[in-house]
């Protein structure tokens, strides 16, 4: 006998739930908290779920466990000092966040970045994208039981850490991008090491694909799971691989090119169905394309050797070290920029295509040394938003595949 019951823990929904009391499998609804300490939630995401047997009746993501007030911090720190904080937003791709923030500052100040700096930035952005997708691939695979692949992707990621270590001196949280360019030029040895790694990388992707794409378990757990239609994606404001997996060709590198992306030769992979499997295929293909862009950027860097990598602008960029010690004016500039760098009054929004989607910084300036408001348009938050849409009505075990394939980092979601 079907009976209508309301539960005190039931989230607001379209109506009361029909529960068949006689069916032993549909007796009671179960409230289940997944996270914030669950390894499959990729951080501190908490999912409040109501389960009917194994089926998810409703799902309510709770965010905020990693909230550190980054946006507010920017208001007291000032323009320059916020750079290290951007590293800690999406901590699997620190340099990409640096670049996104630097671009917002540059558009606010109305300055152009030199050619060579653009090329270094493109190289770093694509390396960061590969690094982030490697994390996605490894963690999603280990959540679904493919333990060996996790170690293989992290071995590759370790190599990218070493490359960044050789360039920036840090493995994570690099903070090497400055307004108007990059802090240091990419030296030849590091460029050669990056080239060696990037050239060998497509073979590694083949190796990953051999383990996953045709694997019956991976196939079964991802195919037709977490289907997001194109309209759903647009409603929810999803961008990046999640949107492309659903068949919409939208990539900021193509639609609103920045840093000279319009001159690079690459393709935008697009899925057809919009399930977890499509999103996986899109990310795999994106890694191949990123490797391709890396090689093109390295070729250009070879040609532009000796070019300027930092803007010559005494309003925003620190003067070279040797002149600071000999010239009084340069010393004054050094002091002014470090302590009291002012940006013109106005607002600026600037976005880049991060590995998760459109990563944007909205800066409002009142002409002082500190931002009036700094807003981060984090793609991860919108990806979290999509969880209830795809999870409700699905099996509980699909949740892990869905969380993995939507790919968010809580550092960026909570900020």
């Amino acid at each position: 006998m079907a009976e209508t019951r309301t539960f005190d823990y039931m989230p607001a929904g379209p109506g009361d739930l029909q529960v068949d009391r006689d069916d032993p499998l549909h007796g009671e609804l179960l409230k289940l908290n997944m996270g914030p300490q669950h390894p499959a939630t990729h951080g501190v995401l908490r999912l409040q779920m109501v389960l009917d047997g194994e089926r998810i009746v409703s799902c309510d993501p709770v965010v905020g466990y990693l909230h550190r007030g980054k946006e507010k911090s920017a208001e007291s720190l000032g323009w320059r000092k916020f750079f290290p904080h951007t590293d800690r937003l999406d901590y699997v791709q620190p340099l990409l966040n640096n670049i996104a923030y630097a671009r917002a500052l540059e558009s606010l100040a109305g300055v152009e970045v030199p050619q060579r700096a653009q090329e270094v930035r493109v190289l770093l952005m694509e390396l960061s994208r590969i690094m982030a997708h490697l994390i996605y691939l490894g963690t999603t695979a280990i959540d679904l039981g493919a333990v060996a692949l996790f170690f293989m992707t992290f071995t590759e990621r370790e190599k990218t850490y070493e490359l960044l270590d050789a360039y920036t001196g840090h493995r994570m949280n690099n903070t090497y991008i400055r307004m108007g360019g990059v802090y240091a030029d990419l030296d030849e040895d590091t460029a050669r090491a990056i080239r060696t790694w990037v050239e060998a990388f497509p073979a590694k992707i083949d190796e990953f694909e051999a383990m996953l794409t045709g694997n019956a378990i991976w196939y079964g757990r991802n195919k037709n799971v977490g289907v997001l239609s194109r309209a759903d994606c647009l409603d929810l404001g999803l961008t990046g691989p999640n949107l492309r997996g659903s068949g919409e060709e939208w990539d900021l590198r193509k639609t609103e090119p920045y840093s000279g992306y319009e001159t690079y030769d690459f393709d935008v992979p697009v899925g057809t169905v919009g399930d977890c499997y499509d999103r996986y295929l899109v990310r795999i293909e994106e890694m191949r394309q990123s490797a391709k862009i890396c090689l093109q950027a390295l070729d250009r860097l070879e040609k532009s050797k000796g070019g300027e990598f930092l803007l010559e602008d005494r309003r925003y960029v620190l003067p070279p070290r040797s002149s600071v010690q000999t010239s009084m004016e340069e010393l004054i500039h050094q002091f002014k920029i470090v302590t009291d760098m002012r940006l013109p009054r106005g607002t600026a929004y600037s976005c880049v295509e991060s590995s998760k989607g459109e990563l944007g910084f909205m800066l409002a300036s009142d002409g002082t040394a500190r931002p009036l408001r700094c807003h981060v348009r984090a793609p991860g938050l919108l990806n979290v938003q999509a969880i209830p849409r795809v999870a409700e009505g699905r099996l509980f075990s699909d949740m892990v595949a869905i969380i993995g394939s939507l790919d968010f980092v809580m550092g960026e979601v909570d900020r």
Partner: protein, 166 residues
Amino acid sequence: MVIVKRKTLTLAERLYLPEILRGLSITFRKMFQPKVTRQYPEEPLPTNEVTRGQPRLRELTEGHLACVSCGLCEAACPAYAITIDGQETDRFIEREPERFEIDMLRCILCGFCEEACPKEAIFMSTELELAGFTRESFKYGIDKLKRSTEELAPRMEYIKRINERW
């Protein structure tokens, strides 16, 4: 635009048993490949002049720092880790820090102090490991931060080189 190709499983893949054998063969082959694990505390990470470790103060002459306590590193520090109290001195640089304290628990090794310093007085060393029993022990004073010019010379050269812009 390139539309990703969705695979349909072949018969062998669907049967699953051949796949298990294939997986085992990968595992077996991996046994003969070089090991990638680094035994960290026993095998420390290689460091060089690029490494951005903990900040250290340069000694200009025996017992005296190059620092003139201008406070620019303090102003540049995004983590508010540096505290400086200056005083006057009879030496030719006229000012020196009375107290120079870096809270190593706050320090995020970003290198902004090194970038800001106009006197080449603070540099990122290759020292990375940090351990202690009390919070107070992480507040490094001048005695703990002081390093000779020779020790910091490779990093000094490196910073000079990467800042040569034209």
